[in-house]
Amino acid sequence: MSSLLARAARTGIRSPLSSRLHQPMAAIRFQSTEAKAAATTEEYDVVIVGGGIAGSALACALASNKASSTLKIALIEAFDLSNHIKWSPRPDQYSNRVSSLTPKSVAFLKKIGVWSELDESRVAACEGMQVWDGVSGARITFDAANVDGVQSSFLHQVFSGNVPNPSGVNNTTQETLGNSKEASPLAWMTENLHVQYGLQKQLVGHQARGVKLDVFEKTKVQGITTEQGEAAQLPQGDWPSVRLDNGKTLVTRLLVGADGVNSPVRSFAKIESLGWDYSQFGLVATLQIDPSTSTAPGQGKGIAWQRFLPTGPVAMLPLNNGYASLVWSTTPQIAQDLKKLPARDFCALVNAAFSASPAELEYLYKSIGPDGQPLIDFQKEIEWRTSVHDQEASQTMVRGNSFQGEAKPPRVVDVQENTRAPFPLRMRNSSSYVEDRVVLVGDAAHTVHPLAGQGLNQGLADVECLARVVETSLLSGSDIGNIHSLTPYSSERFLPNLAMLGTVDKLSKLYNTDFGPVVWARSLGLTAVDKMGPIKNEIMRFAMGLEESPNRP
């Protein structure tokens, strides 16, 4: 009998009988372990590994929700989270990690009460976007004023299935956008640290009003295990237990991996991560721009600039107070060289990256010595090429019409010290986002090329969805950690994330060449799309996160 039961337990079959029969054994086990482990083992409903934006936002979302605020939640972070609350930046300093938050993400942050914690003067609205091909000059212009209100549309049906009556977050989105005629910005730019500040403020607030939320900061996860054999048949037997380096062990109903690209939670759940590394590095930096050359259409509202070079896209995102954030995707070698270059030459090179031809840039890259010092006078060389271009543009008649209309990116005058940082670019998608009692969100689930600025937004969309799925299971009385309760999360997020990953990956590959026929075809396509208002509108709405309507149960 007992061997039969053991087999049943191993194969995952459970009957009320078996658990009843084993009740005494459970008691024995607890008695025997209590002496040495009871003080250090704690049970939780949700343990979130990783206190980054995705992890903290999930903790916040669960705590702010009426149904899930009764859960016992733990948030584990290896670094010091309390630093974020003390964050008090100077107005003339910006962190180099800046994200663009889509209207959908902002609606979510508003919903969980984080947005109101943020300092408005450090959030820059992005009203327009200029994207162009560095090889051919073909250009597409996005303008917030051209985006229609929230309604079902073509791309939405392709990527999300037709949902007739979106509610929940999309209602909030509508409120955010204001049903008024006034157009919403395309995105909001702000520092990741700033979002973290808002999140931690909220978390402290939730703790103060009695939500059972434990934050383990400066704490590392040493190992994650599940009970094996006999013990697995206990009521909490199949729950993952997370061993921390402070001696504690957390046993949890639901384990959330928000622990980044190399997610230990994902390895524990034996979920494969598929994808590849781009042979590119992204270089971020905080730039100071010449305000007189800035073409911001309104007060504090900027334009995001992105130029596709054969080595990768270079983007300048607007910040306030005459600052901008740079994300320059390029070869690993050039990224390292750019980091070492003296500030003056670096700025000259950034300006050239937005105007000079790829051949001219190539020469400049080659002219950086092994010690990071330029071998030639960058400014002189760039000025000469600019004067040649300007002279030709000024005499070009018919093309002149379009050239005059083409806004130029602002001129970079300085780069903030110690903000230049390169990081490798990758594409990854987990083969699955859920396993029994384990769920992945954010970078742990998927990693994307930064060219569309979608990584963080995808992560927040994951979090929004997961919080909603957990709430639904609670309301229906099901076990939140059970794989069947988690499946709606996976089915809702997997396809949109994959679609975004694929789109961004194809874009990056399409533009990673200067092969003539490809350049011609992509320029023709880009110019055509630029002229086709409705299609452009759809693309914008897709990028703004207005297309995805969650499939609600």
Binding site: P358, K366, E381
Partner: protein, 279 residues
Amino acid sequence: MSARIFTRTNPSALKQCLARTGTNSTLARSTRAATAAPCASLFTFRSPLEAPTGKLYEGHIPISPLQRTILAVGSAFTALANPLRGDMVAALGETTSGIFLNRIRDQMLQDPEGRRILRERPVITSETMQLDTLRQLPDGTFGREYVRFLDDQQVSPDTREPVHFVDSEELAYVMQRYRETHDFYHTLTGLPVTVDGEIALKWFEMAQTGLPMTMLSSFFGPLRLSSEERKRLFNVYVPWALENGSTSKLLMNVRWEEWMEKPVEEVQRELGVRPCPQV
């Protein structure tokens, strides 16, 4: 048979030719006003009847894409029928040179010498070259052999056809420089000024720049050769051209003016070119 034909001409023939293809057409101008507004920014589809630029440099003749097509086809046929029409050969080169010149300019921008040439824009005329001084140089120097070549062919650097149809000031200079330095190539390689010699030079340039444009003359030029010339071309010159063209320094990046006093052998060694086998 002279290879000067490739670029040396009288300009009046050109003007006639242009008049025939309808340069300065009032049609083009009147259409511009009507179509510019919707089409201007859509440069991929700009009207074929309007010239894309104004006059950019001395000698520039702005023409519309339609005129360009007619001129290219017309000059191709004329040049094939009568290779002595240097104006037609030049017009053919210019009207079909868009990508070619761009790539050459890019290759020049990659090289410090090439950049210096683009920046300083040296011009080669009998005046700037000081041919009389070059004649005083000892035998075997590059300058002396260059003048000897000019004298043998009874030409001077001043008889080059100016550039007319390239719609960019800098690219027009590149085209001009390309023509002006042509005689140095003969001195450097020792290729004779015959049709097969010129075609061999085209093969050399093709191997060097990797550009398909030079292929045109490499492939179609031999149609006009006698079988003996063709045999010499493909057995001797082409193998030499492919080998040397792919290993030597890009000749557009050479400031020839500064190499005049060096012995020819040293110039050949420094540029990585072996002299062409003499037949």
